[in-house]
Subunit: 350 residues, 4 copies
Amino acid sequence: HSSAVASKLIETARELVYPRGKGIYATDETPEAIAVVLHDAADEDVKQKQWTEDEERDRRRRWREAAYNAIPSEYISGVILFSETLLDFHLAPLLSDRGIIVGIRANGELRPLPNSPEEFLVQGQDNLLRDLQAARAAGARFSKWRAPIACTATGLPTEAGLDAHAETLAQYAAVSQEAGLVPVIEPDVEFKEDADLARSVEVHEWIIARIYARCRAHGVLLEGTLLKPSFPQPGLKHASRETVTAEQIALATATVIARSVPSAVAGVVFLSGGLAPSIATSYLAAVNALVNAAPPESPFSRLPPLSFSFGRALQGDAARHWVHGDDDKVKDTFEKWSRACWLAAQGKQA
Amino acid sequence: HSSAVASKLIETARELVYPRGKGIYATDETPEAIAVVLHDAADEDVKQKQWTEDEERDRRRRWREAAYNAIPSEYISGVILFSETLLDFHLAPLLSDRGIIVGIRANGELRPLPNSPEEFLVQGQDNLLRDLQAARAAGARFSKWRAPIACTATGLPTEAGLDAHAETLAQYAAVSQEAGLVPVIEPDVEFKEDADLARSVEVHEWIIARIYARCRAHGVLLEGTLLKPSFPQPGLKHASRETVTAEQIALATATVIARSVPSAVAGVVFLSGGLAPSIATSYLAAVNALVNAAPPESPFSRLPPLSFSFGRALQGDAARHWVHGDDDKVKDTFEKWSRACWLAAQGKQA
Amino acid sequence: HSSAVASKLIETARELVYPRGKGIYATDETPEAIAVVLHDAADEDVKQKQWTEDEERDRRRRWREAAYNAIPSEYISGVILFSETLLDFHLAPLLSDRGIIVGIRANGELRPLPNSPEEFLVQGQDNLLRDLQAARAAGARFSKWRAPIACTATGLPTEAGLDAHAETLAQYAAVSQEAGLVPVIEPDVEFKEDADLARSVEVHEWIIARIYARCRAHGVLLEGTLLKPSFPQPGLKHASRETVTAEQIALATATVIARSVPSAVAGVVFLSGGLAPSIATSYLAAVNALVNAAPPESPFSRLPPLSFSFGRALQGDAARHWVHGDDDKVKDTFEKWSRACWLAAQGKQA
Amino acid sequence: HSSAVASKLIETARELVYPRGKGIYATDETPEAIAVVLHDAADEDVKQKQWTEDEERDRRRRWREAAYNAIPSEYISGVILFSETLLDFHLAPLLSDRGIIVGIRANGELRPLPNSPEEFLVQGQDNLLRDLQAARAAGARFSKWRAPIACTATGLPTEAGLDAHAETLAQYAAVSQEAGLVPVIEPDVEFKEDADLARSVEVHEWIIARIYARCRAHGVLLEGTLLKPSFPQPGLKHASRETVTAEQIALATATVIARSVPSAVAGVVFLSGGLAPSIATSYLAAVNALVNAAPPESPFSRLPPLSFSFGRALQGDAARHWVHGDDDKVKDTFEKWSRACWLAAQGKQA
């Protein structure tokens, strides 16, 4: 990396997580996923309505505009956009004019791993540099690649699956930096199966450590990257799912980060995944409270900033107000949730 | 793999290299590369002609038809097609009706490796299964993926480059078998730089051994695969390039295969790359002569069949006759060259 | 390796497995293990006897002398000695004078793998070069290192265990060649647990393939090595143990060798481990019969020679005759068993 | 690890580097190396003296006693002993009674790596657990294993060398924890050749990152370990050796630690190796000054404590006073140097 490019990558990465408390709002769902959100938010009569493709597209654009206008820049440092929003709707200036950094979803669709069909690799490597350069030209300054990591009590993930994901994520990170975009590396360890918390911790450590091993091999500048991991947690099919506390999740999370993330990484922004907003926020608050309470000789006192890159957790209620045309409440809702996340990322309860 | 699919893959792989002497004709150049071949073969006045896109396309189709009609099935077991030839021109039956097995080029275009820009990774993983399934539906029974491996006296290939190629090739092989196509794995070690023969041998061993390590991880059925390697050879910028003998190449080649290719692999079909037809054929003859002369206790006596997957080496002269409309000479030329390769693959001189 | 040393290593390795049928007699038990064999072979009154240390030592020496005099050199190419036999009893000439190649046990005692206490690493790396050089000075021309590989239906071996064994075996092989001794690399996959045949095959492929990957990294000359693997087989705690046939074992064995052993390796000599002599011999005969019947296009037709390095399987009965002073029957017994193994290594039944 | 053992390991590891400034005094030279130090310190007439083995031994013991009595426990947290000092001289109580933690040198002698004779592996794995358990019984609470890492501008270290060292160090660390001793993992990257600073940084990152990858595989509790690395620096044969500044070394050092040491590791104690005491101390001061000046968003603000494990740097002058019987000056010298290191480890100049 040229010195100037490297400095800019490092600066952007830090601005996404500093001052402490600031985090990322992920709005990179596919058009289909947005349609579902808006449908669910609508009243019964509106749900009946048949939308033309153009109407759907226009609605998506307006919903994104409304959301981006409503996001409070004192809490939110960056927003991740789907390619349509960035390249077709040209909404980047709405954000960047207010000091919010624009990101782009880089990963494509999933494909099953041959010979391990319950694991999924991620497509999108073809033409990745060209696509990311286009995103940068349209205003993006960071990108994100999500890899779903299977996790069962025994058997999954396979060694082949872990290796393939780590290699793909590291190649992505290197290409993203080549395009001048800070990579946000997202290993999303699934929690729908029967793993307990200890197994989830183990799988988190494996995949995160491998990612950085491959990043080193590919010359990724760690100081210009962020990690977007899941919270380690018991699977939905494991009994302890019902009884696990936010404090247990926090301890597991801090341990994973301490053991597998090099200090050089600019920051960690957790994903909310399928968690309810209040749950994701409570985990984030608990792990930051643990960090705040750690004595100087504890590794927890020297973790990178632990913030958020939530999607559903930030926009659930807002959509409901927006479909009813209540712009003030949209704004209030974003304000409320963003502030709650911002407090949690400092270890404070709302 | 279901038992039936596995059996079919194994059977096809064997038919591509047995009875000994039979080999593959590679006609998977891009349309642009074909245009160059035909242009070079033409007389000066024809070279002036401006072709429309449709005329070019029609000429490509007719040239392939002529070639496929002329290929002698007693020497040639399979032909590798570019996607246009298979999917748009529908030429598979021309070959399969005469007992020649149809293959498809699976790899896409190259992209530089970030942070090692003189190494190139291969695109084409996105939608690969879908593309190979379409090829199978159009008559293909095998596929091929070429990876260019940089090779200098010191420095290249990098560890990251080797690992990335091995992973990509193994994933490709697994997907190809999932689509019911025998993968022909092509690590093409470059010889345009300053490596000597020993270094070329070393790099060949590294990449080939890594490929099979990753194939194991991804559950590839080795018995249903072929390897398409380059011949180890000094680089164009190394003094020994001028003096190296076919016997030295043969010894180096047999050593590489013995040390890095598991016995389970159905066969090895060498690429000709930028070598003159007569040179490539002489190397093939020399290595098979070495095999023929090996005593039973020598590893060379137990190598898989060593045959060919030549392109330019098979079609150079034929194009010249074809542009002049001399179909008999086209046929003679293909006959002559195919037979020479077939003899070489048995260790006999033409 | 200097060219002369390399040639000698290759020559010795080949002499251990050619002409086909010849194999190795393993007599490298510890003094304690010999004492048990001789005790078990004795009559009740002799069993009562208290032996002094010197008497024990003398008895060991005489038993080894008797055995080495009795071993038929037309069937047995090499014998593996424990260090005491080579360095203190100086019995190498007994063998080498009759054209039998002398080997030395190189591995030391086991130690549990920290954090996986049911796996065991092998000691003996300290001072290994010096010890092997001493063995060579005393007449040894090859050496052997055994690594026990845990194998359960799930869980064992661990990745760490596999990697550590592969690294240790490869370092041993490199040191052995440095000392001028052909390494016989012995991965002994255990069969006392609940793995089925497919799992045993998988574990065999993993460990063998990793061994050769590490051998490549350490510059081991594969042509001057032998592999001494176990036969893949169901574990004692798996139901199919009772019903598995020699033909199934043979197919599994040939598949493992074809997929994981490079052609360059001079030969494979199976261990008998805890198998009854007749069972081990029947497996060896079956796998060689499979090889004999394989058509040229089958990988099984190009496997390295598959022979034996049996211990208990060769000496069980002989000890009983020897303790009764019946030297003729000792000779007959060795003759009979050696010949049976020799036939089996050619795929013939006794 | 049982929870109690784990807690104790973590506690001991922290006590070796906290409160900030405290560090380790390495006195684990072999008897031969001590003899050289004392010989060099003596006057010409004493140098002529012939010492009996018993006299030498007695002198060693008395020198160690004097040194251990003189070491100020407000600056020195731990001392590394050679086995003779711990097990034969029984000097542990001299230290532990004053609150100084006793360590044991665990590594044995070097052996050349086969096929890369300028790289050296470390012996001492045989009987390691037993030896470390004996050390613990004699009062040790931590141990140390040094691995010399070759480093040239190109060529060294080899991949095989790096892998072998990382595996050995990780196995050692696991065994040390099993024996109840905190492992101090010492990768000592050599600086006698032609590497520049950037190459030294690269090699430091490679070996340190690999060590932690293997530690993860072997289940090492990182929170109960310390790292003892060299300072990255240009080689003696590289021109920049003459001009490199302490600030450049400091930046390189902090970068290496940030990129390759997980936060979980309890602390880093640099070795002085062949550096002059004042140089080693100036590097330590400079890197801690860099840490002190780092803003919160810099990775340097979240490094583990960076302290010292110096040997020669601490005892050079003291030996001269001791051979002249000047005990007060011995004490003064240790006091002065220990305090200088303690200040440097806080980023202060003496």
